[in-house]
Amino acid sequence: AQSVTQPDIHITVSEGASLELRCNYSYGATPYLFWYVQSPGQGLQLLLKYFSGDTLVQGIKGFEAEFKRSQSSFNLRKPSVHWSDAAEYFCAVGPERGGGNKLTFGTGTQLKVEL
């Protein structure tokens, strides 16, 4: 069964510092991978996705993520964090072919940004 692990429950960074959120997945084949962000009282907003091809994917709000098959990882990065980035971040893995929409999410990483 597919699974996602986000080892860091909470992370605190200073505004302007770089950020890396970790995500490890377990999946039998090449997965579809996603990062979502959730602000308080809000639903989930897609930051970026990986389906195939270039292993470094760019997303919205200056985020990027790198797919590393050998490490079963899909870490999210941002070179300079803004105070508005404070939110909860979820990594998710999805099915390989169209039709099914079941995503398996990690437990999330809560990001706090210090001014």
Partner: protein, 115 residues
């Protein structure tokens, strides 16, 4: 362009009662999925509807049921509510069968509290 809309945004029920949550998908989408997000957890897949039929189901009891209407909107019903059903219920829409594009658009959720 309206995104995914859910109602109600908040509701309080007592144990043993029944609840119905509603979802209108993003314009152009034909598939609706429901997720349960307990406090401090990632979203968990409940089920998915396409062409008014349940297509996939997660590990949820039969107390959780759903429906999809011809206009693609959907309802989630939960019977015999338990305290553990307290959670944020997220609706997500997408297009069925679009290979490599299982990108879900999430609503803001319905916050259910069971007392």
């Amino acid at each position: 362009d309206a995104g995914v809309t859910q109602s109600p945004t908040h509701l309080i029920k007592t144990r043993g009662q029944q609840v119905t949550l509603r979802c209108s998908p993003k314009s152009g989408h034909d598939t609706v999925s429901w997720y349960q997000q307990a406090l401090g957890q990632g979203p968990q897949f409940i089920f998915q509807y396409y062409e008014e039929e349940e297509r996939q189901r997660g590990n949820f009891p039969d107390r959780f049921s759903g429906h999809q209407f011809p206009n693609y909107s959907s309802e989630l019903n939960v019977n015999a509510l338990l305290l553990g059903d307290s959670a944020l219920y997220l609706c997500a829409s997408s297009l069925w069968g679009v290979s490599g594009a299982n990108v879900l658009t999430f609503g803001a959720g319905s916050r259910l509290t069971v007392l």
